[in-house]
Subunit: 423 residues, 2 copies
């Protein structure tokens, strides 16, 4: 029998308890031993809890972290501290650790994996990325023989819900955000989601594993979706695109890029049809080709599914098949200015002859070829110009944006969004 302690009884923690109890029989049959929840750490002493939990509830973390009988600690508190400290203590006390904590893993994954290895215990974190979708273990194990060239995905359900609502119900961003809050898909302070930070943590974790290079969130170029307006989505649709918040790690001949940003994806692109709170990850390996993993990227029971499978794996894994840190390549993430992509521009400018040629001229001077220029309807003598460029470096794009902004005839560069033509 394996004895575990759980730090945290929020959504994920409750899901883990519920799942272990509900599927107790099949879990034991499949894994060979029962899982016994010895203690659960909670914070709020005043909260009512079911009777069957009363005996195992504790308010003292040391009753789990320092308890000799406990083999494994599940950390599902979230946030950086005190989670990080508890994880370290548990590892130092020779306990396996399973965590769903993307903040902690994305920043301190390497140190923690090394600490686990020193203490001859396991640290697993499948639930930290894409909820119930198995992606971390498949990347580490099933794709072990591949050199991974690209990993991209929709890793944040909140922003994907917002973008789906904007597109399908012709909503502006703020309206869709309000709906997401109402439905419990967005937090009262939604900035980690809508600014792209949550996705940045997740792609940092995935890129580290995929490329065997240490990628921390501060190395990830990050844009959110708060600058996207319904107009952009409408224009994108007219041209056969959907706008998605895409997290991507790319291995190029020059090195590695990791970024989170909205992207115009062709309707035929597999990520285009990922809607609402669903997540998906596309992996491209040199042997396996393109794979996609799709499912619920968050939620109580899907996340619990990942946590419980990690618990069993951690309890069964020893020295020989421990999943140690595999960031063995000393390589820096390349600066975003070198990143190459096509871009979409929406520009407001005076509706008079010569303006379009002046704007086009700026692109030309910056070595940017234009794929498509559309002049939209003019209101009050201000025309909206939509431009899609050919692939160019982000440096060129930034320079062009600055120069276009400084043109007297231009009142606003409303949007600059990456475009992915390939499907």
């Amino acid at each position: 029998m394996a004895k575990i302690g759980i730090l945290g009884l929020g959504t994920v923690g409750s899901g883990v308890v519920e799942l272990i109890l509900k599927n107790r029989d099949i879990i034991e049959r499949k894994c060979g031993f029962p899982i016994n929840i010895k203690k659960i750490l909670v914070r709020d002493e005043s909260k009512k809890r079911p009777d069957y939990l009363k005996e195992i509830i504790t308010y003292k973390p040391e009753e789990i972290i320092n308890e000799p009988e406990i083999d494994l600690v599940v950390e599902v508190m979230g946030g950086e501290e005190p989670a990080l400290t508890y994880i370290k203590q548990a590892l130092n006390n020779k306990k396996h650790v399973v965590t769903a904590n993307k903040e902690v893993i994305s920043k301190y994954g390497k140190e923690l994996l090394e600490l686990a290895q020193q203490n001859k215990v396991n640290l697993l974190f499948e639930a930290s990325v894409a909820g119930g979708i198995p992606i971390i273990i498949p990347l580490k194990e099933s794709l072990i023989a591949n050199e991974i060239n690209n990993i991209m995905g929709i890793l944040n359900g909140t922003t994907n819900f917002i973008l789906t609502q904007m597109e399908e119900n012709k909503m502006e961003f703020s309206e869709a955000l309000d709906l997401a809050k109402k439905l419990g898909y967005a937090e009262s302070d939604p900035s980690a989601d809508i600014k792209g930070f949550d996705a940045a943590r997740k792609i940092a974790i995935l890129s580290s594993i995929a490329f065997n290079v240490r990628v921390t969130p501060d190395k990830v170029y990050t844009e959110g979706i708060d600058g996207i307006s319904y107009t952009d989505i409408k224009y994108a649709q007219e041209m056969g695109f959907t706008i998605k918040l895409v997290a991507e790690g790319q291995r190029t001949d020059d090195g590695i890029f990791v970024l989170v940003a909205p992207v115009l994806l062709r309707k035929e692109h597999p990520l285009s049809s990922v809607k609402d709170v669903y997540n998906a990850v596309i992996v491209e390996g040199d042997a396996v080709g393109r794979l996609m993993f799709y499912g619920r990227g968050a939620g109580k029971m899907p996340t619990a599914s990942a946590v419980v499978s990690d618990i069993i794996k951690a309890l069964k894994t020893d020295e020989k098949n421990r999943l140690n840190c595999t960031c063995f390549r000393e390589e820096e993430v390349l600066p975003i200015k070198l990143f190459r992509s096509a871009y979409y521009f929406r520009i407001k400018a005076l509706d008079k002859p010569g303006v379009l040629s002046k704007i086009s001229g700026v692109f030309g001077q910056n070595n940017i070829n234009l794929y498509m220029v559309i002049q939209k309807n003019s209101v009050d003598n201000i025309a909206e110009i939509v431009i899609i460029t050919y692939e160019t470096s982000f440096k060129n794009i930034q320079r062009a944006v600055d120069e276009i902004k400084s043109l007297d005839e231009v009142s606003e560069v409303s949007s600059v969004i990456r475009v992915k033509e390939e499907v």
Copy 2:
């Protein structure tokens, strides 16, 4: 260092050798030890082979199976015998076995896993289903905490290529099959693919794992795609459906159904957009909800990717985390006559008043409600009638087919195909 022997140097075998050599460095870095190919069994002595293979080629299986230095045997010969005998001998000689052999695993998986367990070695077979897509290990490990309620997929690339060609290029079945042969996607005797037997073996393996029940191919109700005509695809399209060869294992309140058959899927169904030789598997777990795994279901390097990851896993796994047989439920697959689904009918009948009512009457007498009846154009006084029923048992459908066929006014029941309304 791990020493392996490979039985077979066809497409998959060559891919395995190529991948181990090409990604030697990263494989060693990630798995902790080098993989040394000690011997490769080939059949054809007259065939030219690259120089670097000459030293390790053998024509005698016992030089691999009985060689004490070899830790692990890779079986990539295909077919039932002598593969089965070699696998048994290797296991009895305490060698791990990795195989891509769906015939052997679908029929003898349980016995072989038990034999492996007795001999304290590992038997892995990720490549036997869906080529490079990780599905067997994720099912066994990542979804271990779930009760799986449904597993369905497009598991045969050849038939999916044919159906895609028929739909996109308005081809008849025989024309698309010829194209598939020309492109090397179909064998000269394509019956295992087009009759659904290949998919039946794969869904037998997946259902056994998903439901913890032993399902062998002979228990799988199997229909192929050779009865599908372009007319069916065209009519399906007009009603918003795509026709796919779907392999499905379903857990219902009454028990388990496992079948392979063409299905009209809504265009919005995630399997509808799986085209050409791609494969996809959808798994529904009680905790995780719906997951989809998508990628290349066959081919030299994708399959090699799965085989090599199995090699590493088999070499690293010991007693504690061995993947033993998990068919612990004594349960029979239910007879197909009890299976419930909606169905599509295409019927040729005399174009005269009263015929439609007579046909509808037969459905009514068999307790089948009709969802949609369309009378298509009449040629030479013979009308084509397309009917979609509501959900009913297959027994009722079979009875209705017999009775409709016996009507004087009916010249042909051209097609009876399952319909899945849910997306």
